[in-house]
């Protein structure tokens, strides 16, 4: 006999996503756009947690709000929790303490595993919004210790950077895509020993296919990691045959 346990109102949202408080359009492919996934997700905005506060100022006072929001997601039945900001490795430790479900704050948590998949001498290129603001503290909190990485920032690409940081509310995705493809192509030309890209910046993900066409490198982002964790917390029966 099977017994179903209730006790809450909503069901079927296995992945909870904590969002920074932003106003730019979140494209399909952005983890803050629910149509990015082929399974339901529960989006929860952490009000007041702006890009300026969390990334630019490194202000940790929003932590209590993230913890409350994570607990709320857990109470709503999500089976794992992630965020829309790769810099949030810094809240990984407090969040895993606060809830009982797996938490993966940042795509950067994949770096050690990806580094092991590459031939010796090849490096993981970390594509980030602003390489000046991605510190050893962020990397260490993601489990990155002695892996060889190259930081690749978009701080000199206004077509991308200003959307995330400057509060731009509309943009032309074709223009942003061209800028991102140009940025990564240029970085890979300068760092030919990059064997794979791990994308810290959420907002790059919509352009992953275009970048891969141009540079032909494996690309691991938070959408990929979210799908991996979803497949771990929602196992489905296989339907093949012998």
């Amino acid at each position: 006999m099977t017994v179903f346990h209730g006790g809450r109102t909503t069901y079927g949202e296995a992945i909870g996503i904590l969002l920074l408080d932003t106003r730019f359009p979140r494209m399909p492919g952005d983890i803050g756009n629910a149509t990015t996934f082929d399974f339901p997700v529960r989006l929860r905005v952490v009000e007041g947690a702006t890009v300026q506060r969390v990334i630019m100022d490194g202000d940790e006072s929003a932590l209590a709000d993230f913890v409350d929001a994570a607990r709320e997601l857990e109470a709503a039945g999500v089976r794992a929790i992630t965020t829309t900001c790769g810099y949030l490795t810094t809240i990984q430790a407090p969040l895993v303490e606060a809830v009982d479900v797996p938490v993966f704050c940042s795509s950067l948590m994949q770096v050690p595993m990806v580094a092991r998949m590459l031939p010796r001498g090849k490096k993981v290129g970390i594509l980030t919004l602003d390489s000046r603001r991605l510190t050893d503290v962020h990397l260490r909190a993601a489990g990155i210790v002695d892996e060889s990485v190259v930081l690749m920032g978009a701080e000199d690409v206004p077509a991308y950077y200003d959307n995330c940081v400057g509060g731009v509310e509309s943009y032309d995705p074709a223009e942003v895509e061209a800028a991102v493809v140009g940025l990564v192509s240029d970085l890979i030309a300068r760092h030919p020993n990059v064997g794979a890209i791990v994308c810290e910046g959420i907002n790059f993900a919509p352009y992953a296919a275009a970048v891969q066409e141009a540079v032909n490198l494996p690309w691991f982002d938070i959408v990929d990691l979210t799908r991996l964790v979803h497949s771990a917390v929602v196992k489905r029966r296989y339907e093949g045959y012998l």
């Binding site: 359009p25 990806v114 998949m117 991996l228 771990a232 029966r237």
Partner: protein, 181 residues
């Protein structure tokens, strides 16, 4: 056997694959040699997920490694997967004949319902004895078909080589998104 694996990996690369994996979680010991031989990403074992999964869990929680034979999963195999000081519990099927006498012993016929029942019982027992287990990483390929049954019975997150393979596939074959605002 290692030279044969290296040759076969090179053959796969020449055939155009974008990443290479294996059907045996113990093969993490070949990881370095195979990555040195080809230019595509190589993930020999599901165990490579353990450090990352460990970081996703609350402090004090452990990753349970589900393996065929816990006596044969050595420190060397774990280290080759990047596992150093992560708290892990290793659970093997050596006392579970419904499983152990089939796949590892070359049985050509298997009753999947019987094996599933045994695997579910084995994991329930593991979780009862180790309440600190927060997730399973499944080293052994042959458990994967029974993962949904185990999860339905226990609710435990379960990472296996199928999950990791889908993950790497997503990384090497990026698709355009078709959603909307």
């Amino acid at each position: 056997m290692l030279p044969d694996f290296v040759e076969a990996a090179k053959e796969l690369e020449a055939a155009g694959v974008r990443a290479i994996t294996t059907s045996c979680g113990y093969l993490s010991t070949f990881q370095d040699t195979i990555t040195a031989a080809v230019n595509v990403p190589v993930f020999t074992s599901s165990l490579m997920q353990v450090p990352m999964v460990s970081r996703m869990l609350p402090p004090g929680k452990e990753v349970a490694i589900l393996t065929i034979d816990s006596r044969r999963l050595t420190e060397k195999t774990l280290k080759a997967s990047g596992i150093t000081d992560e708290p892990v519990v290793v659970m093997g099927a050596e006392e579970v004949p419904e499983f152990y006498d089939t796949y590892p012993r070359g049985a050509v016929e298997i009753d999947p319902e019987k094996v599933e029942g045994a695997v579910i019982g084995m994991v329930q027992d593991l979780l009862k004895r180790n309440p600190k287990v927060g997730a399973i990483v499944c080293e052994a390929i042959n458990y994967a078909p029974y993962a949904p049954g185990v999860q339905a019975a226990t609710g435990i997150p379960w990472f296996d080589i199928i999950d990791l393979t889908k993950h790497v596939y997503n990384a090497v074959v990026k698709q355009r998104y078709t959603g909307y605002l």
